[in-house]
Symmetry: C2
Subunit: 417 residues, 2 copies
């Protein structure tokens, strides 16, 4: 499996967990009877993505063109046994990791950006929009757009835009138009700039601008996490992992991943959820305690309340998280399907402090050589805790390393580690 036979290896269908949930998922709803956020989705989301969002089919065919793009950007990603980490931890079981940082954009985000861009292009759309905070999602969208012959327009929270110029460089390299948000590109952005030309922006404002820009121009808008369709696309991670483990004759005892909105964890774990022998642990940030303090209720997907509401574990869409570096874990909610599985007890949870995750980054870098993204390091910290528990001796653990941290090195400050 080194070569062009990669395509032969690739799963040909995504897995959708919706029909296999213990209780039905609650549908999205409008925030108020007179708002039209669901109608808005119909206008800005590619039709096929919207169909996948609401389907109860267990499998979705992956178009040939998407499979080929998956291979071009580095799929299947490797499953690697972390022998050095095992030795370092004096663990007598085995630790494997699925390495999503091996994709061209360095994280799992590209797995859903590609099909969304592909479906938009197939509809005859010429340009897409999205928002980005730290830049991972914008980067994935920019590349996916270029691979599918689309122009992309990325509204980047101004404070990130100014602090992370190299992220913008990458998006520009991929061919994207990158706008610091609030921007003069939309009436919404213009209004904010009129009041405060130096407004630092927010993810809510950037989403509003991306959606409005799509509406104004008949473009389409791409969503990066939380939605069922996104999780279905991300199932490529777990389907590959399942085959790779089967190749090795291994049935893992435990699967671990980190949770922002939930897409990497869900994509990784869901394809093996029917195996009740496998323990599954979702890892979030202590500073954003969505598992321990979240409530299960309808809440906004986005802080601005432009998109519909979902029933999920949430800290409240107006929750202001501590300024931890792991931007991807600052999200206030948990994808609806994952919320149900956690409440039902099928999936366990863990919360990890920023300092424990940074320590995990150091240990993993020094033993395995790969510098993990700070988000992914939360999963590693959970693995370390798990392995140190004497009752887990001899077990086989697999975790998802959702991205590399080469663009996040400033977490360690000015060269000091």
């Amino acid at each position: 499996m080194l070569n062009a036979d990669k395509l032969d290896f690739m799963p040909k269908k995504w897995y959708n967990i919706v029909p296999d949930l213990p209780v039905p998922i609650s549908p999205p709803r409008d925030r108020s009877p007179d708002s039209s956020s669901i109608e808005l989705l119909n206008r800005v989301i590619p039709k096929e993505v919207l169909r996948q969002e609401f389907t109860s089919s267990r499998y979705e065919d992956i178009p040939d063109e998407v499979l080929e793009q998956y291979v071009q950007i580095g799929r299947p990603t490797p499953l690697i046994r972390a022998r050095n980490l095992e030795r370092h931890l004096r663990f007598d079981g085995r630790i494997f990791f699925k390495y999503e940082g091996a994709t061209a954009t360095g994280s799992h985000k590209i797995n859903t950006a590609i099909p969304q861009a592909f479906y938009a292009a197939r509809e005859g759309i010429k340009e897409i929009t999205t928002e980005t905070g730290a830049g991972q999602w914008g980067t994935a969208t920019a590349l996916a757009a270029s691979l599918n012959g689309l122009r992309s327009n990325v509204f980047m929270v101004r404070v990130s835009h100014d602090q992370k110029p190299l992220r913008k460089t990458i998006m520009n390299l991929y061919g994207a138009n990158v706008f610091a948000s609030p921007s003069p590109m939309t009436s919404f952005g213009k209004g904010i700039l009129q009041n405060n030309p130096n407004h630092p922006g927010s993810l809510g404002i950037a989403i509003s601008e991306a959606v409005q820009y799509a509406l104004d121009n008949d473009f389409r808008y791409l969503l990066g996490s939380v939605m069922n369709s996104v999780i279905t696309h991300q199932s490529i991670i777990g389907l590959e992992t399942k085959s790779q483990l089967a190749d090795l004759g291994i049935e893992p005892d435990t699967m671990i991943g980190c949770v922002g909105g939930g897409s990497n964890f869900c994509g990784f774990s869901y394809p093996m959820i029917d195996n009740k022998n496998i323990e599954m642990i979702a890892s979030a940030a202590t500073e954003v305690p969505k598992f321990s303090k979240g409530e299960f209720r309808y809440d906004n997907i986005d802080t601005a309340g432009i998109l519909p509401q979902l029933k999920m574990l949430t800290l409240g869409s107006d929750y202001v998280p501590e300024g931890i570096y792991s931007g991807g874990l600052r999200y206030h909610g948990v994808a609806p399907s994952l919320s149900l599985l956690i409440r039902g007890g099928r999936i366990e949870t863990s919360e990890v402090t920023e300092s424990a995750s940074m320590e995990a980054m150091k240990i993993f870098s020094r033993t395995q050589g790969i510098i993990p993204a700070p988000e992914s390091a939360h999963a590693i910290a959970t693995v370390i805790d798990y392995v140190k528990n004497p009752s887990n001796r001899g077990k086989d653990v697999v975790f998802n390393l959702s991205g590399h941290g080469l663009m996040d090195l400033s977490i360690f400050g000015d060269g000091k580690v």
Copy 2:
């Protein structure tokens, strides 16, 4: 080949071209009769590395421990067909690339750092030293040291140290001591600092300090390119490529790679050099015209003249290259074996301007998603020229993508592409 059977795939021996050269390689020599630079090598280079430097055996066993470390850091690296690039260039042949950026440290440098550190550790040595300019080699050395239980001491040219703090962060993460050079760690560095506390440093000074620090403390010193032993270690690239192409039933028409000192190009191409049907093209920087303007003569390996002299194509060890961004291509010489093969006509050459290489970076990023290192982008620019030549229609080209460019994005200035 997705899994633990990676070890089965790995070549078990390195290939050494020395016995297969058309004319014998000239031995290193001291710069002057009263200097003892060869004796110095005996004191600072690990014994087994030194033996490999002067052997005429065609194959060298790769120790099992080294093979395992190769797998841990991401070997075998993928061979990928660049279908999007083919389409973009409207090329009716095939373009493949071997992706050395998939290693944990992001370039081919780790392929020789690992065995050198391993041999040092096996000798009972506890610490190693090296110098680094832009940081790639220091990064590889730092990780290789940690993987082999060694402390590492990296003397980093002060101006790079101050301009590239994130490179230092990575080396620190891997466990290295990083010293801005000139440093107070050696009498040589102290002497320079006494005259000028703000001396910006140079690669020559950094080498001097790394060698002296090794001598003073009975540590060992690691070398990153040019030497035969390094090229032998790098043959892992070409041996894997050869197997991967054979798997696909492909005999390439042409192999292309970039040349700094020559180690990535030689490691990539030498294992297939016996196939006279394969055209081989070495690509350097126009601004450092070592192919077109280099003379074949004895010259210093290092600008400071501490190490012995080698007979090679050289612009002169006191040559001051234009300030192109591709630090890895600014080296004044060409590895002795490669110099002989170029002079003998077996290997062709090409020189690429910085602007053509930057254009190649953009094209490759947008089509394939991987952002190439600026050095590697010279190989891509040569591929593009090759493909545009009508006489090369329908051919199969393979090039070595020696590293990714995620740590080099500032080449595009302040976020502007």
